[in-house]
Amino acid sequence: MIGIGFSIFSRATVDIPITLQTKQTIFKAGDNIVLRFTTNEQAVRLYCHSSYGVSILDANKDGKDVIFTIPDHFTSKKGVLNYKLVHTTKVVFEGVITIVANSETTTQLETYIGPPDITAGGKNHTMMVVIPTDSYDNPVEDSTSIKMKHQFLDTEKETIQFSKDFIGWERIFSFERSGRILASNEVNGTASKEFAIEVFSANAVDFEINYQRKHGYADGNQITTFTTSVIKDMYENIISDGTLVTFFVRNAKGMILKTNGTTVNGIAKGKLLHPDHMDQWEVKAYITGIAESTTLSLIYEQSTADFDVNFQNKNRRIRVGPLQSFMGQRMPDGAVITCLIYREGKYLETKTKTSSNGFVDFIVDEGFYPAGSYNFKIEGLGIHKEFKDVVL
């Protein structure tokens, strides 16, 4: 029956003469609310139902009247409070009062901003939602004006929103530049704190790559560094640090080598060891699914023209070397040489060793390789040598 109309706020329901003396039906949160009834029947209690719960109150007698003091935890909360005067489980009178937010108290603000970071370009946006409350934690009345402010570089914007459904809210769109938007709001003279929204650059656009190396020889020892240009988005913002860039290298045989790096100030670096034989590399970098680079072509020249192979110790020790690099200097340690062993045309084993002081020694052990005729293939640094019918 409450729903019938705003004008019907209270009525007696059973034939016990009861008059409500309290005429006020709208109270501010925090007000003292006392309901006074005139009735002959004093054995009554007051049931009340409010936003967060119910209670049943004992009457205080005051001459011919009974009075009920609504407890603080009800009077401080905004909302409709229905009450029923109960006599021996029967409702003898019912009514409703309305408690509104107390605009005289200091307004408190609860602000939610999200998402906390957005991308540049003006398409992406974040949202600032503020719930202004009175000091009893009641949402303020609808249509309270809320100043929404945000600043970016030289731009400062201020709009006025009116609260509805307890909240005020605003969409904040990004600008073309990346950076940081600062936002705040203000209601009834209470200002919120400062909120920051990170505007990250938008997606990268295609970029260039370059390389640095100490020399152009395929010595299997030095390192080639690939560097991107400063990668930017379509609005000229440098892309976010830490963006992963993958460098794909296709060599002369069509094999793929891969290295990667993450950007710092828009530049990513990837490193690869020089090949140990003459080769040609086609290099291209990708930010997977987003952007790609120009293609780079590199040539590595042969660094070692030839090396000697000596069979010693009744041919059971094969000494490769001295290995010499492009200036005739001794090859730095670590050059890889392999030795393939065949007997009567049948492949037996591959021995792989790295050089030390310019030499590699392969020992063909008696225990494994009984006396007989063997073929050996020595490979490394792009050089192939074959020795047939070596008798052990």
Binding site: G53, I56, K77, I113, G114, F166, I167
Partner: protein, 519 residues
């Protein structure tokens, strides 16, 4: 010499016994220490899984509108908000019933839960307890934020049932409608209530349009099927092999079909069957059970039999916090069969007055009262009744039901007088929903009725029924070999009695009373 030997043995026994006792004591002590060290919060409780997964509160929820100026909401998010909002109501109802804030933290934010704590504190000091449940929620979304962390919605005309106790005395029992505007925040994976403000109820028009012409109607004290006056001559039915488990694994529609032929050929036009609450799946009714019930009802329609379906058999909780679960149970069954032409009436519960003593009359009646409303809401086509166990209880809730039903196992001689008196007190049709006599003369009951006296009983009763034009249903078609303990009690003489109420014996032969199965 013998004496000292005896003493020696005695001492030896004492020493061994005390040694064993000591060991038991030590082991018990150690186990208690270990047990103590193992108690405490289970680590999985950090995840709040128990609260999240249990379905304990299912009031009807209708989303009226989800368009909002913030951002479109997905169905999944909406379900999460709804689920947590209902749980917020549930934990609040539990908290006000027990005056213990258990679970409030999970569904109210730090500021909002203060309000609940204060209310609980005031209830504790004034010794107030509130048993409450909400029955339906009409939600509309007002706002959903861009980051998906905040939502505002309105819950209008929430129906709430409350019983308020002060000093353990019932002070007020009532139903109210209230509307709320609610702000919820997503915190720690829970949609928690941040603000909840009660508002004035808007006037909403009733969304359920009653049928213009229900299938079954009651005018004065007469039952009409369509335009035709209906006189009920019926029987309570269970298949012989599966009493009190009609829709179980041994369900066999062929047997039921044969039985329906027997019933129809005997001149009867109505059967009463029972739907067990747990067997049918409680709040989530199992589809296979619905299918079985459908087969039975379809068959009854073909055979020209009307069916009274008794719901909530073996249900006995009635607790306010369990209401919504039973409402969902009823909704699923009743709304599914609301158009079915075989059904005459929904019998809400068999003999609920027998639960008054254990569950409290107020509790049971309040549950029934609301259940009548729920069932009528989902099925305005069929009648509603309650099968009271004796004629003295027949008029309980008389103003809300369509048919007054009672069971009669008292003396034949006083029936006419009691029935005559009942007729004067109501203008609704009265159904003698169960009556009968067990022919259980035998080892456990040497003075019980024989098959002859059972036949005589029915012969006489049928005359009285015919004379007074009573709607009746006999108990029951078959003698049963096995009767569940829950039905009869565990004692052999109790079980024995329940076995021999039938018109057809365990061997399948028609007993002498069969002649009088119908007038």
């Amino acid at each position: 010499m013998t004496k000292s030997l005896k003493n020696k043995n005695l001492y030896r026994t004492l020493i061994i016994a005390s040694f064993i006792a000591l060991n038991i004591g030590i082991l018990f002590g150690i186990s208690q220490v270990l047990l103590y060290l193992n108690t405490g919060a289970d680590r999985s409780s950090i995840l709040h899984l128990s609260v999240q997964n249990e379905e304990v509160y299912l009031p009807k929820v209708i989303w009226q509108d989800t368009t909002n100026p913030g951002r479109p909401i997905t169905r999944h998010t909406l379900e999460m908000i709804q689920s947590d909002y209902l749980k917020a109501w549930y934990v609040r109802n539990v908290a006000y019933m027990s005056n213990d804030p258990y679970g409030i933290d999970d569904f109210y934010t730090e500021s909002a839960r203060e309000n609940i704590y204060k209310t609980i504190a005031s209830h504790v000091s004034a010794n107030i307890q509130v048993s409450a449940t909400t029955l339906c929620h009409h939600l509309s979304l007002d706002f959903y934020s861009e980051d998906g962390q905040l939502a505002v919605f309105t819950d209008v005309n929430t129906k709430q049932y409350q019983r308020v106790y002060k000093d353990n005395v019932l002070e007020l029992e009532h139903q109210i409608e209230a509307s709320y505007k609610v702000v919820v925040l997503l915190e720690d994976g829970f949609w928690k209530v941040r603000h909840m403000v009660k508002e004035l109820n808007p006037v909403i028009k009733d969304t359920i349009s009653p049928y213009e012409t229900p299938l079954i109607t009651v005018k004065q004290n007469k039952i009409y099927i369509g335009e035709n006056l209906f006189k009920m001559k019926g029987i309570n039915y269970y298949p012989q092999q599966t009493p009190w488990d009609m829709f179980g694994d041994a369900f066999d529609i062929d047997i039921i079909s044969e039985d329906f032929t027997i019933i129809k050929e005997a001149g009867l036009n109505t059967i009463r069957v029972f739907v067990q609450y747990e067997d049918f799946g409680k709040a989530k009714v199992k589809s296979e059970k619905i299918e079985k019930l459908q087969q039975v009802l379809d068959l009854a329609e073909v055979r020209g039999l009307k069916v009274i379906v008794t719901l909530f058999d073996f249900y006995g909780n009635y607790d306010v916090l369990d209401w919504t679960m039973t409402h969902r149970h009823a909704e699923q069954i009743v709304s599914y069969f609301k158009e079915h032409r075989a059904i005459l009436a929904w019998d809400i519960k068999n003999e609920p007055n027998l639960d008054f003593e254990n569950r409290g009359k107020i509790t049971v009646l309040a549950w029934l009262r609301e259940m009548i409303i729920q069932i009528k809401q989902y099925d305005p086509n069929h009648l509603v009744t309650i099968g009271w166990s004796d004629i003295e209880s027949a008029l309980l809730l008389e103003d809300q039901i369509d048919l007054v039903s009672f069971h009669y196992y008292q003396g034949l001689e006083s029936f006419e007088e009691k029935y005559g008196s009942l007729i004067t007190k109501t203008n609704k049709p009265i159904i003698l929903q169960e009556f009968g006599l067990s022919s259980n003369q035998g080892l456990w009951n040497p003075f019980g009725a024989s098959e002859e006296s059972q036949a005589i009983y029915y012969e006489n009763f049928q005359q009285i029924l015919k004379k007074n034009d009573v709607h009746y249903l006999t108990w029951t078609l078959y003698d049963f070999e096995n009767v569940p303990t829950e039905v009869s009690g565990s004692m052999p003489w109790q079980k024995d009695k329940q076995k021999y109420f039938g018109f057809i014996g365990i061997n399948g032969n028609r007993k002498k009373a069969f002649k009088f199965i119908s007038e």
